[in-house]
Amino acid sequence: MTAMVDDAGAVASTNGQSALTVNSLWKVFGPRADKIVGSPEADLSRAELLAKTGCTAAVRDVSFDVAPGEVFVVMGLSGSGKSTLVRCLTRLIEPTAGQITIDGEEVVGMSDTRLRELRRHHVSMVFQHFGLLPHRKVIDNVGYGLEVRGESKTDRRARAQEMVDLVGLSGNENAYPDQLSGGMQQRVGLARALAVNPSVLLFDEPFSALDPLIRRDMQNEVIRLHHEVGKTMVFITHDLAEALKLGDRILIMRDGALVQMGTPAEVVATPADDYVRDFVSEVPRSHVLTLAWVMRPPRPDEALTGPEMTPDTIVRDAARRVIDAADPVKVVDNGELLGVVDQDDILRVIVAEETPS
């Protein structure tokens, strides 16, 4: 996708203004939850904490930045706290501790009115189970966000129609949600979220409830929309393939805590621990890794006459040409030679599924 960031981790802080910043966010469920953060109990494992205090820490000390226009994926198994995390961002679930900044504004501690403004204009969300209003037509579902912020009927109808067309539902605007397939319903959910023209879009496992084929269509739809409207997106999923496909960067959670954050290639190439390694073990390396991960310094005996390629080329895409080429391929960025890749290097990734060290 729009690989505007290669240098993982350092992303937003470099250009100074991020769309969304989360700093030391905690969410603890249970009695006297606010007392847990900062106490010794906070270091206990989830099971120990539950046994000792009756509390569950769903999100533990998570921090990250999302740059404008970035697609940021949060990934984890069920129970890892990712859905709680995304709900904390607009305080659908009240965070226990930490800071959240959206478009430069502090969300935690914001007044109810201000929070409502934020939800009405800046951030909107797409849900796993759609959350449509069964008693309203598609067009009125899409226009709901405009309606609650007080726009006139003609204005919101016009805008909603635009959105319906944008997500490819033209002709279905007068249908009721239960007359649509699951994929179409989620398009309605998407159109509803887009209608308010937010700067940040949140997706909570939006495609998990859909059939695989439809899921693929919808993923492509999101990619298309991202190209067209260029929103900042935070995308929650438990599906690694989806995360790798959509994400500029991926945050992996386990038991509420951050395990690893980085580009898809980083995650696949250098898993932070066994948990992540296990996760990515099934992923075809060649589909994720770029030449930057495979290249090596040229050996003195090698001829540097092969074709040139950029370091962000995916291995799979480069394979044909590397194998066909008589000499190693040169990896060049802005005219500077970074390294070379030969047939062996490529085959090691594609066939042996090895990760270069």
Partner: protein, 722 residues
């Protein structure tokens, strides 16, 4: 994962962990042991410490209640300020009902006191409304029902009942929906209002009939208020429940778009709960109709009057015909609201039929205008033609009743004697003739062992002890004159029991049970309450026998269900007084007859719940059991019954409450005990306080039995009440 973590925010909705085999077995053993101790000790100490209070004697607390009512009467006479709002409300209600009566029943200022709009106009109007809201079939049904009531000779009384029911239900909606919204938004409000709703539903109307008549007025206004009190709770409960259980994703999604709480209520929760709210409305209408007979005791207009009057002269036939008119109205309103609920869902998206519908509506509208005009100006369209159809039916019913009672009288007498001698007397001995502290301990043990998941925390028990002690203090202050009371052991007993209960890990039912028992003791009617309890338990046992057998039969076959259900509906809506009097020819007045009446009234609801439970057993499981080769009996006993255990307990719960609501009516034919006290409190001023105390005891019994059974049901995985 979304849901499971979000739910942690509301620990209350957490499903209780199903009890494991081992703890279950322990509980049953403990229960058996407790019962054995109860029987042995009870037999040895029989007749001691029974807290028996002769009917004519009053405790201090009861006298205090009587005086309180006297003060209220004085306040009304003196026109005290706090009476004024009630008077104003009463006058307004009376004005509304009277105006409607002038329009549709009888206007004293017109010649021959005919109404502004007579029968033809009313029929046309009702048909029009029925068609508009519920469709063609209901329109035809309404037409048939109204004409039948007219031919039976109860046109005016029928319309009076419709008016009172209608006004009461409209007010129920105006009060009930906002209350339900408030309850669904605030758990504090919900916690505060729920016990009030419980009391409104379980407190016998006879206890507050006289004060209501005093405050709001005799006749129309009193009738509306008494109907309102009983009919309001179902609507509030069901609506609050519906609003609170709207799809959480949708609520979250709309919140994420920045809806305010009011927008959520108006645009999301209310429209999405429409179907369920209409179910609540339906229940409320049925409850309102069931008060028609009671309202007649304070000169409320309508079908209740001929029923009560006919019973004064033991004319079963006449009472039956008037009662059947109530049933007809109930059927009409029930089906109409049911259909209206379905239509409300479909209305928005109907397409093709719309034109036909508009034409029919137009035609009916024009017909209604013409009929209204004719019924205003022409006598024959104003006054329903006279017919002796009702009288003929009444005569037939009388003859048939005589023949029937003559034929089976010996058999029923035998049933009466056997059941009374071998079952009822023993049960009553156990409950009412054992020392009160023994019975209290036994009931608490049952509550602790059955009613709850066994997660009693220490804090809960401490709160319980504190609360109970307070209740005992308050009650003791007034109940000082109960004979044979020994306060020190009583105190010690309460505290020790609560502590032991908490230690044993008593569940959620323990505390309410302790509070209710304390209340029963405190109002000074322990013995009468235990007699009532024994009758209630006996009746519920029989109800459950019917419930399980007939329910299983119905649940397994749609044909049987379709055949039996109308009969159950009939039994449920026919005013109980109507079949009680003929029953007097079968059984001698006494407790058994009261029990029989309660069984007749409570069985339908238990049977229906049991049938639903059997039917809702997963078809996959039934299929699997069939595939393995289960025969019919194995299917019932090993699959369908065990899997609908929760429903069966729920059926018992509803059965208990319905039985309890017949305690007062049952006392009219010899039930005695609490029910009799309530009636005599209503009838005799000097006994008012005792009647009210008895009503409080009935309410406490009801809430206690409800909590025990609900939490028992919850243990078997079905926490919801119907």
């Amino acid at each position: 994962m979304t849901i499971e973590l979000a739910e942690l925010d509301h620990p209350a909705v957490e499903a209780p962990t199903p009890p494991d085999e081992e703890s279950n077995r322990k509980r049953w053993w403990a229960l058996g042991a407790a019962l054995a101790v109860w029987v042995v000790v009870g037999t040895v100490l029989s007749g001691r410490n029974t807290q028996d209070l002769p009917n004519a004697e009053l405790t201090g607390f009861q006298t205090w209640l009587t005086d309180l009512y006297g003060n209220l009467q004085d306040a009304k006479f003196n026109g005290d300020w706090f009476i004024k709002p009630a008077v104003w409300i009463g006058d307004s209600l009376d004005w509304i009902v009277t105006t409607l009566q002038h329009l549709f029943v009888s206007d004293p200022d017109r010649p021959l006191q005919v109404a502004q709009f007579g029968w033809a106009g009313v029929v046309a109007l009702v048909v029009l409304i029925a068609y508009a809201l519920s469709g063609a079939r209901i329109a035809v049904l309404s037409l048939a029902v109204l004409l039948a009531i007219g031919y039976a000779g109860y046109w005016e009384a029928g319309i009076d009942t419709l008016i009172v029911t209608g006004v009461a239900v409209v007010i129920c909606v105006l009060i009930g929906i906002p209350t339900a919204i408030w309850m669904s938004r605030s758990s504090a409000a919900s916690a505060a209002i729920t016990p009030v709703l419980d009391a409104m539903q379980t407190m016998p109307a006879f206890a507050y009939l006289a004060p209501l008549a005093l405050l709001f007025g005799i006749g129309n206004s009193g009738a509306v208020v008494v109907t309102l009190i009983y009919a309001l709770p179902p609507l509030v409960r069901i609506t609050a429940h519906a609003l609170g259980t709207v799809s959480p994703t949708t609520v979250e999604a709309t919140a994420s778009l920045g809806s305010t709480e009011n927008q959520q209520t108006r645009k999301v929760r209310l429209p999405m709960s429409k179907r369920t709210i209409i179910v609540g409305l339906n229940q409320t209408i049925m409850a309102a109709l069931s008060m028609a007979t009671i309202a007649a005791f304070i000169a409320g207009p309508g079908l209740g009057q001929p029923i009560v009057r006919a019973l004064n002269i033991l004319n079963v036939g006449v009472a039956f015909v008037a009662g059947a008119c109530v049933v007809l109205l109930a059927i009409m309103l029930d089906r109409a609201t049911e259909r209206a609920g379905i239509r409300a869902e479909l209305a928005a998206r109907s397409g093709g039929n719309e034109n036909v519908r508009r034409i029919v509506l137009g035609v009916l509208g024009v017909a209604a205008v013409i009929a209204l005009y004719l019924s205003h100006s022409q006598l024959r369209w104003s006054v329903f033609p006279e017919s002796d159809f009702g009288a003929q039916v009444a005569r037939r019913v009388n003859d048939w009743t005589d023949a029937f009672t003559g034929a089976v009288g010996d058999f029923t007498a035998w049933v009466n004697d056997t059941a009374t001698t071998y079952l009822l007397n023993n049960l009553e001995d156990l409950l009412a003739n054992s020392p009160w502290w023994l019975v209290a301990a036994a009931i608490l043990t049952v509550a602790a062992l059955l009613g709850g998941a066994g997660k009693g925390s220490f804090q809960r028990v401490v709160t319980g002890v504190a609360l109970c002690s307070l209740a005992v203090l308050a009650a003791g202050y007034y109940a000082g004159s109960v004979p044979d009371i020994n306060w020190v052991p009583y105190w010690t007993g309460v505290v020790v029991l609560l502590a032991v209960g908490g230690y044993l890990g008593a569940g959620e039912a323990f505390l309410p049970t302790a509070v209710c028992l304390t209340l029963i003791f405190g109002v000074g009617l322990w013995n009468d309450s235990m007699v009532t309890l024994s009758m209630t338990l006996f009746a519920t046992l029989v109800v459950m026998i019917f419930g399980v057998t007939i329910g299983t039969w119905m649940g397994r076959s749609h044909r049987v269900d379709a055949a039996v259900r109308p009969f159950l509906d009939f039994l449920q809506t026919m005013p109980a007084l109507v079949y009680l009097i003929p029953a007097l020819a079968l059984f001698p007045p006494g407790k058994f007859l009261a029990i029989a009446a309660a069984v007749l009234y409570a069985s339908p609801v238990a049977i229906k719940i049991a049938a639903d439970g059997i039917r809702s057993v997963s078809p996959t499981t039934v299929e699997a059991a069939q595939a393995i080769g289960s025969n019919r009996w194995q299917m019932i006993s090993k699959v369908q019954l065990p899997m609908s255990k929760g429903s069966m307990v729920l059926a018992a719960n509803q059965g208990l409450l319905f039985v309890l609501s017949m305690v007062v009516i049952g006392a009219l034919v010899g039930g005695g005990s609490l029910g009799y006290l309530v009636i005599s409190g209503f009838s005799q001023g000097q006994l008012y306080g005792k009647g009210l105390a008895a009503a409080i005891a009935i309410t406490a019994l009801g809430i206690m039995l409800d909590r025990i059974t609900v939490h028992t049901a919850a243990r078997y995985g079905r926490a919801e009440t119907a």
